[in-house]
């Protein structure tokens, strides 16, 4: 851990944010929904550590309660898209043949749409709301995971212990669960962390456009959207939710690179890619 500063920094950042989200009711100085017109648009100061918004609500309280929804939603989306992507990837990689061809054609087709455009259209078709936005993001982001899991599965399938399990007459689902998945999952942790960062940005971006949680729900994207109109004179309304979002994304990125370093000590430290293939990940799906 000491020799891996990325991992340490990422874990502590995310740990602090998760702690703040879990302890929001205890830490919060006020009710995140309590309107106080007499004290609207206060700058950060005593009583309101991060100031108040246009309706006089406490920014820190909204930020803390918002962390629960924003981070929770990003976590749920990542978990669901990993599950879906892993299922498709393992199926394609292990079955091979026409199943593989069909599933990979589907993945290629999905890739023809820019990730955020696809998420936007799906969220727009499903209608505004946190659940619909999350569903749209899951349906968008499973493809990247499916492709990686497939290639990992293809490699795992040829391992001797898998061949041995097959020779012993184990069933296909048994082999997949007991032998293929354990080989694939650790490497997926890197993908998951980077994927969660993308999800978090897309989630806030689309909820900023009014497609996610609706006001007055405390959510970071909603807060950024509400702060937009006041950003000339009261930039603190944008600054604090923006900072929280960036810290969370930075934590996830550091965590992902930290896990990669821990997993593969031969790789160059902290995201210094040596081959174009590793550098290509990251922006491609946005």
């Amino acid at each position: 851990m000491r020799s891996n500063p990325s991992l340490l920094a990422g874990l502590s950042l995310l740990g602090a944010l998760a702690g703040a989200a879990l302890l929001a009711p205890v830490l919060s100085p006020a009710d995140p929904l309590a309107i106080d017109p007499a004290n609207r648009l206060l700058p950060p100061g005593p009583g309101h550590p991060l100031g108040t918004d246009a309706l006089g609500r406490d920014v820190l309280a909204r930020l803390l309660h918002g962390a629960r929804l924003t981070l929770g939603a990003a976590l749920a989306v990542t978990a669901a898209s990993l599950a879906l992507g892993t299922a498709v990837g393992v199926a394609a990689g292990y079955a091979g043949g026409w199943v593989d061809t069909l599933l990979m054609r589907l993945v290629d087709l999905w890739k023809a749409f820019p990730g955020r455009v696809l998420a936007l259209v799906l969220a727009g078709v499903l209608g505004p709301g946190t659940f619909n936005l999350c569903l749209a993001l899951v349906l968008t982001s499973w493809v990247a995971c499916a492709r990686i899991v497939r290639s990992l599965t293809l490699a795992a399938r040829e391992q001797e212990y898998v061949l041995a399990a097959r020779a012993c007459g184990r069933s296909v689902p048994g082999i997949v669960v007991r032998h293929v998945l354990p080989d694939v999952l650790p490497q997926l942790a890197v993908v998951a962390a980077l994927d969660a960062g993308w999800t978090l940005m897309a989630l806030s971006g689309l909820s900023l456009l009014g497609l996610g949680a609706q006001p007055p729900t405390p959510e970071w994207g909603v807060m950024i959207n509400e702060g937009r109109s006041y950003f000339r004179c009261h930039p603190h309304l944008l600054f604090f939710p923006g900072l929280a979002l960036m810290l969370a994304v930075a934590g996830l990125t550091l965590l992902g690179e930290g896990i990669r370093d821990a997993w593969d000590p031969a790789a160059p430290p902290s995201g210094l890619p040596t081959a174009p293939s590793t550098a290509r990940r990251g922006i491609g799906r946005c």
């Binding site: 290629d108 087709l109 023809a112 749409f113 820019p114 990730g115 955020r116 455009v117 936007l120 259209v121 799906l122 969220a123 727009g124 078709v125 499903l126 209608g127 960062g197 940005m201 806030s204 971006g205 900023l208 456009l209 497609l211 950024i224 937009r228 950003f231 000339r232 930039p235 944008l238 923006g242 979002l245 960036m246 994304v249 930075a250 990125t253 995201g271 210094l272 890619p273 040596t274 081959a275 174009p276 590793t278 550098a279 290509r280 990251g282 922006i283 491609g284 799906r285 946005c286």
Partner: protein, 313 residues
């Protein structure tokens, strides 16, 4: 040439499937669209009015019939009329496309210049201070969401030091802030690719030969190494298209830029399905064609691929 023709032919089935997926996606909209439209136009949603509108829009036909009708129109470049304004979808998209191309084109230039400077600098001073600085910048480019960058640039360059107009459309001064917002992300991404491929190229024998001949380091870097190092960057441009088009949605909204991203948001707000279908299809077609161009130019830029293909054929 034969290769290009073959690739173009392969594109047709892909576009057909894309069109099906687009149509299916937009048709999955929940609720009675006709009822919503009657209410929006100020009428009472009586069963007769709703039924008449459903009949007029052909909403009661089976899914495949509607798709076939839409596809037939598509073959004549007719994507139907917007439900909101009754204007042809193709006309709306054609009007918004130049603004988006202007924005993304400028962003691409900004990003390419940035990548050239940062990527070359980082590779020339690998693992030294300029390299570390460039790495920090590229990491920031990954971590800062574009909408926050947009607000930060607006605050700094239009409010605090009013050098550029805050929002709007018209002159080259208006395009700079949104293009900078999108271009910084592109530059960060491409710079990472360029640095990596530069380091790979600089380790090759012909570079050692060039150095051994006593050529100045600048000549080796710019005249000998850069050409080959740029090849992976060209591939990276394919990814960039999707990133830029995805970014326009939010950036156009923030900067009030009258492009395709804004059309999409208006279509979503009004549940204007023909317009949303047209937008989605156009996005996919743009991504697919840019990727095809990248593939083709790659063969043209790198003689090794052409020779391999010729030897394999």
């Amino acid at each position: 040439m034969a290769y290009a023709a073959r690739r173009l032919l392969q594109l047709l089935p892909l576009l057909l499937v894309i069109s099906f997926l687009t149509f299916a996606m937009a048709s999955a909209v929940p609720g009675d669209v006709a009822e919503m439209m009657v209410i929006r136009s100020g009428g009472q949603p009586t069963p007769e009015a709703v039924a008449a509108l459903r009949d007029q829009l052909g909403l009661d036909d089976p899914f495949l019939v509607r798709y076939a009708r839409w596809l037939g129109g598509l073959a004549r470049l007719d994507l139907g009329a917007s439900w909101q304004t009754r204007e042809p979808v193709v006309a709306i998209l054609a009007r918004a496309l130049p603004a988006t191309l202007w924005l993304t084109g400028t962003a691409l230039i900004v990003g390419a210049l940035l990548a050239l400077v940062l990527g070359t600098g980082a590779a020339a001073f690998a693992n030294r201070l300029p390299d570390r600085a460039a790495l920090l910048f590229t990491l920031l480019g990954k971590v800062v969401p574009d909408f926050l960058l947009a607000f930060a640039l607006m605050y700094l360059l239009a409010v605090r030091w009013p050098l550029l107009p805050l929002q709007g459309y018209g002159t080259w001064r208006h395009v700079l802030l949104p293009a900078l917002t999108l271009g910084l992300g592109v530059g960060a991404h491409l710079a990472r690719i360029l640095r990596a491929s530069f380091l790979e190229v600089l380790g090759q024998n012909y570079i050692t030969v060039a150095r051994a001949k006593g050529l100045p380091p600048g000549t080796v870097l710019w005249r000998h190494a850069l050409r080959n190092a740029l090849l992976p960057v060209v591939t990276g441009l394919g990814d960039t298209t999707g990133f830029l088009l995805g970014g326009t949605v939010i950036v156009e909204n923030v900067f009030n830029w009258p492009g395709l991203g804004r059309v999409a948001l208006e279509a979503i707000a009004a549940r204007d399905l023909p317009l949303l279908q047209g937008y989605t299809l156009l996005m996919a077609v743009l991504v697919v064609s840019v990727n095809l161009l990248v593939d083709l130019s790659y063969r043209w830029l790198d003689p090794r691929i052409r020779l391999e293909a010729a030897a394999g054929a």
